[in-house]
Symmetry: C2
Subunit: 111 residues, 2 copies
């Protein structure tokens, strides 16, 4: 297994992290990683062309949001949650909370 | 004074908010608004062409991050902090904290 190039936490850039998170498909990828832990880079049920998906993974990786390990043709992706939390406390938690369905009183299940 | 079109908090979109924040100039504009309160849309000391700046303000406004009031030629900008906090608790605070200079022990003033 080798890890694809990724920034050291000291070199994280907040604008780049927010830009990486600022897309509905990438947010969905991050939500799944937070929920499922390490996954392959071909998540089920996403109707996104493979090349587009590769580009999303690259943007997330280059910003420091995810880590990608490769072995032959297989790629495993993880969220760099601990490093992001250490560098930007509460940021990813606030983003994940913001993605959760809201259920105000009287409107169960409404977003 | 009239307020330029802006989304209702119910229609905030997290990806759009994060995209709006995911740019170094827009982050600097937000940092200044958080620090200074309502300001004009021509902040001092930013070497950004006026048309580029207008575009940044528009992206922030359309995402719901700022509110712009106009009267004749004057425009006043505010951060929609309370509404953002209500919709995405801790998000803007985490972003503003992430922008603050870090001073680890032994490295005063280092970012």
């Amino acid at each position: 297994m080798r890890t694809l190039p990724q920034p050291h936490p000291e070199n994280f850039d907040l604008a780049a992290v927010l830009h990486a998170l600022g897309d509905p498909v990438r947010l969905e990828l991050v939500r799944r990683l937070a929920e499922d832990g390490e996954t392959t880079c071909s998540p089920e049920g996403l109707t996104v062309p493979r090349s587009t998906l590769s580009n999303h993974w690259r943007i997330l990786r280059e910003a420091g949001v995810i880590s990608v390990r490769t072995s032959g043709k297989s790629r495993l992706v993880t969220l760099r949650l601990d490093e992001l939390d250490a560098r930007y406390p509460h940021l990813i938690g606030a983003v994940l909370d913001g993605l959760a369905p809201r259920s105000p009183a009287g409107s169960p299940g409404r977003r």
